[in-house]
């Protein structure tokens, strides 16, 4: 449009924009339809959670940290619990570990299906959006049957879990997974064969392995570029040691690969949950946990649906933490979006943004 050399034509997206349901601000300079520059502003939903943890006890913080994110609430609680248990020198019983793993994986299913719908919607493919969200209800119901909640399941306790999974529930989960697996196979077919959809994803947002490593991409975004990065494989926590996960890699590095990686991860997750359910360890659900955590500091890592989630926890020996620092996967992936954006069409921007599965509430805390 107004192609003055000095005056750039900037398209702002956010913090209030139909493309982004969460607040973030992007500025794309465009030349006609082509993006020539991109910039990013974050922090619109900063809630000061890290500071707030310092005024609460270890147990209270579990509830607070689970509310960092609405989609991956469980993984925050898990990463925190692992860290605190490490500091306290407490070993969690194997059955509790297995239940934590199952819930974490169910959460991954729900998060990936949500993402699939959102990404399809950004590409103007509302039918896929509606269908994947309908099927996502299955996994939400499963989580509700385990914990009584659809979103903040709050399964973790320091030193164990709150809820057991009995045989009846296990059967329900298996049935749900069968249905989901069948549907996921269908989505895989849609995503890899639908011509109009491929036209929007294939070759869009290319990121090479070197770039991904350089930009510090994590999670499915990195794995779609062929970077072998998955905390569940690198340093197994919970039950991932006994029940190993196969890392899902794609080498293409475009949006299409990000779809394929996430859908493949869904299949892997179904397999893993079934395996754990078949070999459920028996025993206690909780173990005794001291009220005061010994002085010291530790880190804990977990593979959230979006990538590596990192917790730094420091204790001064009281019943409250001295400092808790959270680094969420979304933050690590922004660099890739900004560097990929240049040279693409404006129409690709929403899909590129969503391609990393950004979570602003995680990101800003």
């Amino acid at each position: 449009m107004e192609a003055h050399e000095s005056k750039k034509f900037v398209v702002p997206i956010g913090p209030q924009h139909p493309a982004l349901k969460e607040p973030g601000h992007f500025e794309f300079s465009v030349d006609g339809e082509t993006v020539t520059d991109a910039s990013l502003r974050l922090g619109f939903v900063h809630r000061g959670i890290e500071k707030a943890t310092e005024g609460r006890t270890w147990v209270q913080n579990l509830y607070l940290l689970e509310r960092i994110c609405g989609i991956c609430s469980d993984v925050h609680g898990t990463a925190y619990s692992i860290g605190v248990e490490k500091l306290a020198g407490v070993t969690v019983p194997p059955r509790a570990q297995a239940i934590r793993t199952i819930v974490a994986e169910l959460e991954r299913i729900h998060s990936h299906m949500l993402w699939l719908g959102v990404a399809a919607h950004e590409g103007g493919f509302d039918t896929l959006f509606m269908f994947s969200w309908r099927d996502r209800e299955t996994v939400m119901d499963l989580l509700e049957s385990i914990s009584g909640n659809r979103v903040n399941y709050s399964v973790n306790l320091l030193g164990g879990v709150k809820f057991d999974i009995d045989e009846k529930q296990a059967g329900e989960i298996r049935r749900g997974l069968d249905y989901l697996e069948e549907r996921t196979r269908h989505y895989m077919k849609v995503v890899t064969t639908d011509e109009t959809f491929l036209g929007r994803t294939r070759g869009v947002g290319l990121m090479s392995k070197q770039q991904a490593e350089l930009l510090g991409a994590v999670g499915p975004t990195a794995r779609a570029s062929g970077v072998e990065r998955d905390v569940r494989v690198e340093s197994p926590y919970l039950s991932y040691g006994e029940f190993p996960v196969n890392i899902m890699l794609e080498t293409a590095g475009d949006l299409q690969a990000r779809f394929v990686v996430r859908i493949n991860e869904l299949f892997e997750t179904y397999r893993l949950i079934r395996e754990i359910l078949d070999h459920m360890p028996s025993g206690e659900l909780t173990t005794r946990m001291p009220r005061r955590i010994p002085e010291g500091e530790t880190i804990s890592r977990a593979e959230a649906p979006r990538g590596e989630l990192f917790y730094f926890i420091k204790s001064n020996g009281s019943d409250k933490p001295e400092r808790i620092k959270v680094r969420t996967p979304s933050l690590c992936n922004w660099g890739s979006v900004i560097s990929m954006a240049v040279g693409h069409k404006l129409a690709d921007m929403p899909m590129l943004l969503v391609g990393i599965d950004p979570c602003f509430s995680c990101n800003d805390r």
Binding site: M1, F9, V10, V11, P12, H17, P18, A19, V30, G32, E33, A120, H121, E122, G123, G124, F125, D126, T127, L128, M130, F131, R134, D194, T196, F197, G199, R200, K345, L346, A347, D348, M349, P350
Partner: protein, 307 residues
Amino acid sequence: MYNIPALVAILVFPSGIFLLAYGLFYEWVDRKLVARYQNRLGPRWFQPLADILKLLAKEEIVPQGVQTMLFVGLPVVGLAGALTSALYVPMFGLEPSFSFNGDLIVTLYLLSMMTLCLGLAGANTVDRFSLIGATRTLTQLFSYEAPFLLALLGPAIVTGSWQIRQINDYAHHHLWMALPQVIGFVVALVGLMGKLEMPPFDAPEAETEIVSGALTEYSGRGLALFRIGKDVELVIGLTLISSFYLGGLANPLEFIVKTLGLLVVIAGLQSLFARLRIDQTVGLWWRIGAIMALVQLLVMVGIRMVL
């Protein structure tokens, strides 16, 4: 020639009140069908009317930096163009109210008024989303218009007339033209979707990129008029295509069955695809649509010259 008094034709039937109501009804059918295809419930039958009434009751905000006359006038002109074109088509399966030699061309141009007004309305504001939306609207206009026109000229050449009434009569007494002219039929149908900016050709109003494109700054009355205009265009487009390609429209029953049948197909197409980027839309139309329509047209002309 004029089988309905002029004033009635303009205000009540086939243009005017009847067409507005019918357009809203088709919008509902379209929305409901797409919703059902997507496994949603969809709106209640009076929802389009309720939307329009709500919009009409609301304040119309004229943003800063626009030419007020244009901003207010464009929706009216667009809707008027669409309504006027109803006078020349066999609305509701009855004879067109007005007819003269060459009215096909006039009707097509009247239908394009709407898109042109939309583009101008977007370009009139200083909003960035509107400007990009307007560019896309006009780009899309240039891409589908030629193939759409060519596709509708096919039946005209077969009939040997540029008069919609005669083409309709001819189509009624011969084999459905959708059979020998499959390409033309498909191009016309998809062209109509492009004209109405339906998915997957909704890049000009892609809500995830540019909010609602050229209409971003519109509210209240202007938005309502543009929306009714689109509904009216939908009805007229369906009427044209079914009268040309689906064996003409001789009575109200045929009209309802054929146009609704086409609407079912269009709704299906809408829910099947991901949105095309504007460059993909242009590529699709010029590389495939226009060339195929042109080839078919040349074949038609060739056959006519031989016979």
